[in-house]
């Protein structure tokens, strides 16, 4: 792997995001996105790399963090790339943000239960 003294970004993040600096506020690192069937012609190299990951994922969804880790891109840049892919209709979010999410207490209960199982 790259040592601590090597710059990991030959291609700078602002080039990857084409100068955009804002992601959708509801596209976070833990947000899971799914590939949608949209027109994929004329995509940039990074957009194609992201979409390529979904081909390998076999129809499943990927978290934004998954994508960032797989491509070794800065997570913030991936959030922006994913946001624009959502805008272009190539990715979708399975969960509308804030709608019908379970309560935090419930999730904690589930977590405790899971930990008890492991």
């Amino acid at each position: 792997m790259s040592g601590p003294r090597r710059d990991p970004d030959l291609v700078r993040p602002y080039v990857r995001t084409d100068g955009r600096v804002r992601a959708h506020p509801d596209v976070r690192l833990e947000t899971v996105v799914l590939a949608a069937s949209g027109p994929s012609a004329g995509l940039g190299a990074d957009a194609r790399a992201v979409m390529g990951l979904f081909d390998r994922a076999g129809g499943g969804g990927l978290a934004v963090a998954d994508i960032a880790a797989a491509l070794e891109f800065p997570p913030s840049a991936v959030r922006i790339i994913v946001s624009s892919l959502i805008d272009e209709g190539l990715l979708t979010r399975p969960v509308p943000a804030g709608a019908g999410q379970p309560e935090t207490d419930l999730l904690q209960e589930v977590l405790r239960g899971l930990r008890a199982l492991v």
Partner: protein, 440 residues
């Protein structure tokens, strides 16, 4: 008596004869001596003449010729030869021959001394000039290398920061720092190259697409660059120089074309290598500019750092120097189909490898991030303020979880590792379990 008479008459005649004979002899002697005396006087006159002539010639030598030679020795370039008038009495004499030899020898000595002095002066001047050029080159190299060192450290820090902080505002700030930093690196590296230094940053073999995009990172208004994609990779050794040269060419293209126009980057795969073609729609160079640019870019004209003039076109010169050192070629032509300028950067096969090295698979890529516990601690301290403004999520359940709240790279990496291991543990149902959990 007659005897006496006879005797008295004979004696005087004998005496007269004797006297006459004596007188004749003396007369002859006198005439001989007089002739000898005349001859001696003539010789004396001749010798005196010769002596005067000799003195005259010596005077010429001491007053005219020798000081002339001395003056010639002092003032370089007053090329007077040995020239003195030989008086009539000395023509074809040994003395004249010797004197001429003496004068010629003196002149020769003077010329030799003069030549030696000139040569040694020239050597000294050349040496001094070289020393001055070398020291100014060393000064430029020292300053620019230091700048490159600091700017690339800053660049690394920004890269780490962009990975460490996830908030939009942090990203915007860091990127705002990063872009000028990359431009500064480009300028500083120009001077490093022109002062005879090497590019210090090393990169792995990189596909052409990313080489172009890396170059775009170093220029203003990179959004105006439209590029094709090519997966053929540039070898590790050449990545830095090619990125730098391309950045210079793109910078030129963007800078000298209208801000509404696009700069196009295309690839042409040939038998001997790959050409990168940069087209702008700017003012086309006039013939003189084109000749100059071609002379610079093709390396026909390589100027020293001391000869750059008041408005140094450092970029093009640095690109040309890199091309010469690493074995790629740059050429320029105008007008192109857009009425602007077209630049070719030709990479021979020796600088290319068939394909980019494979990207790291998701699992190994995620693994090192989870181990970076130090990063997570620090980012928690900084991140509590930033997301608090945007969203309330991170402040929940701090007590019974040692994992940080969502929204940070460390958590995200942990998430990635978790989903990855879940998928590998249950291959019959790949990648659904964690996502099903996220659905309502």
């Amino acid at each position: 008596m007659t005897d006496l008479i006879q005797a008295t008459s004979v004696v005087p005649s004998v005496l007269a004869l004797a006297a006459g004979g004596t007188a004749w002899r003396f007369w002859g002697q006198y005439r001989r001596e007089r002739r000898t005396g005349d001859r001696l006087r003539e010789q004396a006159a001749e010798f005196a003449g010769r002596q005067r002539a000799t003195e005259d010639v010596l005077a010429q030598l001491t007053n005219g010729v020798i000081p002339g030679l001395g003056a010639e020795a002092e003032r370089v370039g007053t090329g007077r030869g040995v020239d003195f008038a030989l008086p009539e009495p000395l023509v074809n004499t040994l003395l004249a021959q010797r004197l001429t030899e003496l004068a010629n020898s003196a002149a020769h000595t003077v010329r030799k001394v003069q030549y030696d002095a000139q040569t040694s002066t020239n050597t000294q001047i050349t040496g001094a000039q070289q020393a001055a050029q070398e020291s100014s080159r060393a000064a430029v190299r020292a300053v620019s290398s230091a700048m490159v060192g600091m700017a690339s450290k800053l660049s690394q820090r920004v890269s780490q920061g962009v990975r460490r902080h996830e908030g939009d505002e942090a990203y915007e700030t860091l990127v705002g720092i990063d872009h000028p930093t990359q431009q500064m690196l480009l300028v500083a590296q120009n001077y490093v190259v022109l002062s005879g230094g090497k590019l210090s940053r090393r990169w792995p073999a990189t596909p052409m697409t990313d080489v172009v995009r890396a170059a775009m990172g170093s220029i203003e208004e990179f959004e105006r660059v439209e590029h094709q994609d090519l997966d053929i990779a540039v070898t590790s050794r050449a990545v830095g120089p090619v990125v730098h040269a391309l950045a210079v060419l793109l910078d030129n293209a963007v800078r000298y074309s209208p801000s509404t126009s696009r700069v196009h980057v295309a690839f042409q795969e040939g038998h001997h290598g790959v050409s990168v073609i940069v087209d702008d729609a700017g003012l086309r160079m006039n013939d003189e500019q084109l000749l100059w640019a071609r002379a610079i870019l093709t390396g026909a004209q390589r100027d020293d750092i001391n000869q750059l003039g008041a408005h140094p076109q450092t970029g093009l010169r640095a690109a040309a120097a890199l091309a010469g050192d690493y074995g790629f070629r740059i050429d320029v032509e105008a007008p192109n189909p857009f009425g602007g300028t077209r630049v070719y950067l030709f990479l021979p096969k020796s600088l290319l490898t068939a394909a980019a090295p494979p990207r790291p698979r998701p699992a190994p890529a995620a693994a090192p991030r989870t181990t970076a516990s130090g990063l997570a601690v620090r980012s928690r301290a900084r991140n509590t303020s930033a997301p608090a403004a945007g969203r309330p999520a991170p402040s929940r359940n701090p007590a019974d979880r040692q994992d940080p709240a969502p929204g940070r790279p460390a958590v995200a990496a942990a998430w990635a590792a978790g989903t990855r291991s879940a998928r590998t543990q249950d291959p019959s149902d790949p990648s659904t379990t964690p996502h099903e959990g996220a659905r309502p």
